[in-house]
Amino acid sequence: MFYRETGQFKTSYAADQQIFPIRQDRIGIMLLLVVAFVVVPLVASNYWFNAILIPFLIFSLAALGLNILTGYAGQLSLGSAAFMAVGAYAAYNFQVRVEGMPILASFVLAGLTAAGVGILFGLPSLRIKGFYLAVATLAAQFFIVWCLTKFPYLSNNSSSGVISVPGIEVFGMKFDAPQERYLLVLAIVALLALAAKNMVRSTTGRAWMAVRDMDVAAEVIGIRLMCTKLLAFAVSSFYCGVAGALYAFCYLGSVEPDGFSLDLSFKILFMIIVGGVGSVLGSFLGAAFILLLPIFLDIFLPWLSGVLQLPFDGATVSHIQLMVFGALIMFFLIVEPHGLARLWQIGKEKLRLWPFPH
């Protein structure tokens, strides 16, 4: 009834090609941004900022990066955590070694460094595909973590290899409080998400999708495989790199190479699989699902066992939590293999017809 595009006529190409062609969507996204930028900082508690919102945004960004590579360009990668590590360590080094370096410039340079490394490890994609490429990106995962442990220069000669980041200051303003850091992360993520959304609708994005669907055909119609694939690796790693820098600077405050393990790469991969492969929205939904569900279960299950007087102790609850989490992932994948983003889409289709389907 409310969600219907009847009567919205497009009179120009610009109107026809805008990101959200339906007016209700535009209003919705505006409301969402207002809530995220204005309402949330006013009402959320420190716990929400530090433990939920900031990591959610950062992982959404990393998932978005992987989604560009895997979802749009069809190149399976298991090295996202390693590219995050490159971003985190690069940002740290730029910040510590260059006097007076603005933090935002460090983030951009961190992204560019990660993009460079991404291109390097993307080279095998020109010859190998699918699972074999996944194995090649595994090399990136192990090599980069090894490299960061091996060379003390990269961690500014810290005896343990752990880096502890300096404070954040943008244009003379200190970002210490959780809501300030949240706003900084939110602004960066919103900007990059907008860029991603536009990128995948442009020539570049169409070329990526052509390569994903059938690279021989794409080559025949004149898409240069090398450029396209490497560009996907570069852009994806840029996103992961910036996410890594934010992870170190705005979330944990101190990171070690081992923190960026294969487990983290898999976690990001699960985010896009659960959220929706080849969807910007899916990256956000997947990150929310993978990050928030365990926290919710962690709080909910002990409470439930307390109310129902179940004889569970902490360890059992933790085990049950893992099982429930695994079962829910399977449930969602069986019910909707295209991820949460697809569910959202189906929901929208239904809303259009509601309340009079047929």
Binding site: I52, T149, V162, L252, D298, I299, A315, S318, G347
Partner: protein, 442 residues
């Protein structure tokens, strides 16, 4: 399908709402709250179960004996799975409860403690890192809220060298020592100390890293065989320890010449290695066994009343269980120290607990009164020295249990503590912290 999901979503949100309503549960007035970001599942779950089992058993024991001068102890666990991000989440979740009257936070994880050093200082919550964590926090002028109590990796390495020196008639000149380490933050911490000791004692140091997780060490031990060292000092973790001991046996390297760190010296490391572990030595800052009166009393009182935390009671008296008890003893004693200054029978605020940790004086007489004679070394902290002891014992595995070999050995403080000072100064500079003046603290 959509309908069903909608139902699930509604049910979940109702549940969440109920949950939120019950969360701010009222607490009794005089209560000290310990947040326990612990781990009982995941790769190191077995270690966490023993440690936190001991910790909680002691808290229960204190409560059953009437609390800390009448102040009861409350606590809440949160599963971190030894994962840094989850550890931070747990900390953020529990910190509001702890802000009134906190107990020292024990994470049993170097990674999580690193992430909490700045956060806990900003929130003014005392963080304890017993034998792990950020070792330069020994310098309390830069790190007022962090306490690497009892001893650190560097002091431990120094103590091991001292032990070897004594064994060799007071000199290690011309000897060759291999340092076999887990290639991570944890394994790399002692390198600086070992290098400094090597310059002083004129031995040759050969460093051999083992990549995580370390379940294949053929190449490393091949190299050790070529080097023919006099001793191997091992900074191992988890499965790496067992593999190293077994590989040493296969390569014919005597286990009597292998010395592990305290993370390489628990039953979890030696029992799976079987016969190969016999004769293997390690450092430790607490003794194993039920011979300590306190441990026996906990078994009688707490387990007798059916309030024990361990399901598997065979873990009672293991190294890690006793370590958990020791950590709890120190935490409770710090609160007692604070009470002596700020008022007995009152719950202590964050600043007061911090003061207690900084002015802890756990003498042998006090340990005896607690029934913990010999369980852990004497600890006396100050603003300059958040470590407070720097002493470890050497122990040897006799095939069935850990046997203490030596009395408490102190590392070379004159050599090692300046390293902490320098590192802390560098940290202060990077972070823009102005160090406190310790001479003005009382």
């Amino acid at each position: 399908m959509f309908k069903r999901i909608k139902q699930v979503a509604i049910a979940a949100s109702i549940a969440a709402a109920c949950l939120a309503a019950t969360l701010p549960a009222a607490r009794a007035a005089e209560e000290q709250f310990f947040m326990l970001p612990d781990y009982r599942v995941g790769p190191y779950g077995a270690n966490g179960q023993s440690f936190y089992g001991g910790f909680i058993d002691y808290l229960n024991y204190v409560n059953m004996k009437g609390g800390i001068d009448g102040v009861q102890i409350a606590w809440e666990e949160c599963e971190t799975e030894y994962n840094n991000a989850k550890g931070v989440e747990c900390y953020e979740r529990l910190k509001s409860k702890a802000q009134k009257a906190p107990g020292p936070i024990h994470t049993m994880s170097t990674g999580i403690s690193y992430a909490l050093v700045d956060k806990s200082a900003a929130d003014k919550l005392p963080l304890a890192m017993m034998g792990y964590g950020l070792t330069s926090a020994v310098d309390g002028s830069v790190f007022p809220w962090s306490f690497p109590l009892v001893t650190t990796y560097q002091m431990q390495a120094s103590a091991i060298i001292k032990f070897l020196k004594d064994k060799n008639g007071g000199s290690l000149a011309g000897k060759k020592i291999v340092f076999l380490y887990h290639d991570s933050a944890y394994g790399k911490e002692p390198i600086l100390a070992l290098e400094a000791e090597a310059r002083l004692n004129k031995y040759t140091l050969v460093q051999i890293p083992v990549a995580h997780p370390g379940n294949e060490q053929g190449a490393q031990w091949q190299r050790i065989r070529q080097e023919q060292p006099d001793y191997v000092i091992m900074w191992g973790w988890g499965v790496m320890n067992m593999t190293a001991i077994k590989t040493a046996q296969k390569m014919g390297f005597p286990r009597e010449k292998m010395i592990g760190s305290w993370w390489a010296g628990s039953e979890e490391d030696t029992v799976p290695a079987g016969d190969a572990a016999k004769g293997y030595m390690s450092a430790t800052w607490n003794v194993a066994g039920k011979g300590v009166p306190l441990i026996a009393d906990i078994e009688k009182t707490v387990y007798g009343a059916g309030k024990g935390n361990l399901k598997d009671t065979s873990k009672l008296g293991t190294i890690l269980y006793n370590r958990g008890v020791s950590a709890a003893v120190l935490s409770v004693e710090a609160i007692r120290t604070a009470q002596a200054k700020y008022g007995k029978g009152k719950a202590m605020g964050p600043e007061q607990v911090r003061w207690g940790l900084e002015n802890l004086n756990l003498t042998d007489a006090r340990l005896k009164a607690l029934g913990a004679t010999g369980l852990l070394p004497e600890v006396k902290t100050s603003c300059d020295n958040h470590e407070g002891s720097g002493k470890v014992k050497m122990q040897q595995w006799d095939g069935t249990k850990w046997v203490p070999l030596t009395d408490w050995i102190e590392g070379n403080k004159q050599l090692i503590h300046p390293l902490f000072k320098a590192d802390a100064a560098k940290y202060a500079k990077e972070k823009g912290i102005t160090p406190r003046d310790c001479s003005k603290e009382k």
